[in-house]
């Protein structure tokens, strides 16, 4: 099992109602439905992904976070709001974080770390925008428009009064590594954050 899925699964309780922002082809929701008995929706804009979700029996709604917002979801209407590998692709990640914790008691966010040593090294040596397994695009065609580091993200959470309940760091292949745990901002490629409001449980 992919370690990131396993980590996320452990944070979902049976019967939890979840919302997955940018759910892709529905792999995670399908997994949570089958393995954890979770219910919920995915939001997605890629037509092929939407079709794949429908084939899997994952409830998916075509909705663009940047242009349509999330007003159609009530406050506290989900147990957990997920956002895997999409935070860096939205126009206002700070606002999306607010929305996640408005709609859900808890949020789970994963994103690539722009401070990973290979990216730092690449930029320092070649003077070109870095590419990696977690960021496999050219600067001009990347959907990732709001890159940040783990430190940046945690600073934003502090500023917003968002409490980080857990953080797990994996490499580009979603593998766990002890080195990444030791120096996450340098050696971690993808982090999985479990967040809640400051007064949340």
């Amino acid at each position: 099992m992919r370690p990131d899925l396993e980590i996320i699964q452990n944070w979902i309780q049976p019967g939890h109602h979840v919302l997955d922002l940018g759910c892709g082809d529905g792999t995670l929701l399908d997994f949570l439905q089958r393995e954890r008995g979770a219910s919920g929706f995915g939001l997605e804009i890629n037509p092929d992904h939407i079709t794949t979700c429908m084939a899997k029996g994952v409830a998916v709604i075509e909705q663009n976070l940047d242009t349509q917002g999330l007003d159609n979801f009530d406050d506290n209407s989900f147990d957990v709001v997920l956002m895997t590998q999409a935070l860096q692709a939205v126009r206002r990640p700070d606002k999306v974080l607010d929305e996640m914790l408005r709609m859900g008691r808890e949020g789970i966010v994963t994103f690539p770390n722009f401070a990973h040593w290979r990216l730092r090294w690449g930029l320092a040596l070649s003077g070109r925008m870095p590419e990696s397994e977690a960021l496999p695009y050219k600067w001009y065609n990347t959907p990732n428009i709001r890159l940040c580091t783990f430190k940046d993200f945690e600073a934003l959470c502090r500023q917003k009064g968002i409490r980080i309940k857990s953080r797990r760091v994996v490499d580009g292949k979603h593998q766990n590594s002890w080195l990444a745990r030791l120096w996450p901002n340098l050696l971690g490629e993808i982090a999985i954050y479990r967040i809640t409001r400051e007064n949340g449980t």
Partner: protein, 382 residues
């Protein structure tokens, strides 16, 4: 059509007539003591009757949804693009039921049927029927066919309204509702278009207050105008532009008011064909059913509250250039379903053909619809 039928056609089909002799109470307060429904079916009902799909028709539709009535028939049923072997509603897996609704003019009891009490056509005495009435009659048809629970109830436009109503009135009798290019209620603009259509019909001097049967005439011009205005709303500006542009039938302007532009003669032709095959009183009834449809009405306008009884899963599809029932109307429905915590999937299909796009196969539409129905089929073991 060619000598041989296409491989993905359901082939030659024969409509069946089902007679009902127990009175049906209608929303308007009246009842029909007896009535008949004309039905077509495609595919085979499986042993536990779990693979049945109901197709609900739109304004001018009827029971003939797929296949051909004879080898000579030029055009297949109205939704042949989506019903057949290997198509989204795969007749190798599903048993598909399509009917002409009450009030229709293609064999089901309607204004042009004989009223047993007078032995003359009902005409304007035929009661106004609603989407709820249709759903009720469809449930009685399901009883007759031995179908306790539909795998899916599917419809586009007015048909989508019936699918939605099914989910509210008979929540335990369908597993999925597929609501395509539809709306939870008409806007003032929609009602206005319907009113223009009705005025065109009722002001035709051959209308005779709906008693035109007695005079041996039909309000042909009124029907033609009604269809022309309707037809315009079913297409998009872009698709009309692409099909006709400003093309003239002859080279030069004639400075008169005959049909000079291609689009004019197209509309006139479509209107005339329609006026020969459709009953004027039925057109009045069907547009009224559209106007009245509003499941939120009894819930203070709160569609989410209206949705609470539904138990099925929903697929909602809209089309980007549909301005008759534009995508935001579908989103309104989806949002109410979300608020009522129903399982719903939604996609807005990018297609240039306006409201009529739901009848036209486009790759994304076909693949999303097929993916969903494939999953429905697997769920019921079809």
């Amino acid at each position: 059509m060619s000598d041989s039928l296409p491989a993905d056609s359901v082939g030659i089909v024969t409509p069946q007539t089902y007679r009902f002799d127990t009175p049906i109470d209608l929303a308007c307060g009246q009842a029909l003591d007896s009535y008949q429904l004309v039905v077509e079916t495609y595919g085979e009902l499986n042993e536990d009757a779990s693979n049945a799909v109901l197709i609900c028709h739109a304004l001018s539709g009827h029971h003939h949804a797929a296949g051909y009535h004879s080898a000579e028939e030029r055009k297949p049923g109205w939704w042949d693009s989506c019903i057949g072997p290997g198509k989204p509603i795969d007749t190798d897996r599903f048993f598909v039921v399509s009917l002409n609704n009450l009030g229709g003019c293609h064999g089901s009891t309607g204004p042009n049927s004989n009223n047993p009490k007078t032995d003359k056509p009902y005409g304007p005495e035929f009661p106004v029927v609603t989407v709820q009435d249709w759903v009720k009659s469809q449930a009685l048809l399901a009883d007759r066919l031995g179908i306790q629970c539909w795998a899916a109830v599917v419809g586009g436009s007015l048909g989508g309204m019936q699918a939605l109503q099914w989910s509210l009135d008979y929540p335990d009798r369908l597993r999925h509702a597929v609501v395509i290019a539809s709306t939870p209620r008409l806007t003032a603009q929609n009602i206005a278009f319907n009113e223009v259509a009705r005025q065109a019909i009722t002001s035709d001097q051959e209308f005779h207050g709906g008693r035109y049967y007695d005079h041996g005439v039909i309000p042909r011009r009124g029907l033609m105008l009604a269809r022309m205005v309707g037809h315009i709303t079913y297409l998009s500006d872009a698709s009309m532009g692409e099909k006709f542009g400003r093309e003239l039938r002859d080279q030069a302007y004639k400075f008169g008011f005959d049909a000079e532009f291609q689009v004019e003669s197209y509309l006139r032709y479509q209107g005339e064909r329609f006026s020969e095959t459709f009953d004027a009183n039925t057109y009045l009834l069907m547009t009224r059913a559209l106007d009245y449809f509003d499941p939120a009405h009894d819930f203070g306008g709160d569609l989410a509250r209206a949705m609470t009884t539904a138990q099925c899963e929903f697929l909602v599809l809209s089309f980007s250039t549909d301005w008759r029932f534009n995508p935001s109307r579908s989103e309104e429905m989806v949002n109410a379903m979300i608020a009522a915590r129903k399982r719903v999937s939604y996609a807005e299909i990018d297609a240039p053909w306006g409201h009529d796009a739901f009848l036209i196969p486009t790759p994304r539409y076909t693949s999303a619809f097929s993916a969903y129905m494939d999953r429905v089929a697997r769920e019921v073991g079809a």
